[in-house]
Symmetry: D2
Subunit: 82 residues, 4 copies
């Protein structure tokens, strides 16, 4: 679901409501801490937008971003979203 | 899944790991706040145990407990647990 | 801390690390659900940016935004941020 | 604040309300994941009880428990609880 664009891996995730979206964000937060790599992300109600880039490499996409993206997609598969 | 026992509604919920369990707890926390009715609950790794009773009615099961139990079960249905 | 700008109430909140920032976000999420009014918000590591506007009034600032802004500021006062 | 008793490190933490308690729990959850060592813990409204023991060493207190206890106490210091 992530696409490589503007030197970022970008994805939007949609949920039935805010609390499901926030539960997902909580799991993503655990992944980010675990990998010590943190997303640029935003939320409005049931939509979560995640942009991944590696700041200390000059804001380009690195293996760190691909690893986090894969883990986020794997978590999202576990959400029943409709 | 909740059973009425010892003047409480009691249930155990199991997850593949700690972070899934904690995401579920986050959603339950939203329900509890929304209904202004809070569980006695505990967690060890991937298991969440929830006991519901109404303190200000002398620790008996009331409609408040049944309403929260139903909402929790509904959230749990949305978790892919294996 | 919120300022009225571009038809939004806008604020940035800073924390010592990601996990403190996310704990704050969790409390804000409870407020949003409680008031049934949800922020446009984003996070990068230790910074949380919150923009409040009322969508169903045509994206202008209403009393709902002021009420949520005040509650968020009150929560932030409880965070020791350095 | 943790005391060594019954082969566990045990502590109770008190907060002004449920949402503060849950924000604290969220930070403790990050620590637990980070250290790959998870508490036996429970919550009722504004009180969080945490018991630490090392299961795979036969439920005795080990260095893992002391390390997590110290990190939890350090997080708690950052909470303004009254």
């Amino acid at each position: 679901m992530f696409v490589h664009k503007d030197n970022m891996l970008k994805a939007n995730f949609k949920f039935p409501n805010f609390t499901r979206a926030f539960a997902f964000m909580t799991e993503v937060a655990f992944l980010a801490e675990q990998q010590n790599h943190h997303p640029n992300w935003s939320n409005v109600y049931n939509v979560v937008e995640i942009n991944l880039t590696t700041h200390d490499q000059g804001n380009v996409v690195t293996q760190k971003d691909h690893t986090l993206a894969a883990a986020i997609e794997s978590v999202y598969q576990k959400y029943i979203v409709d």
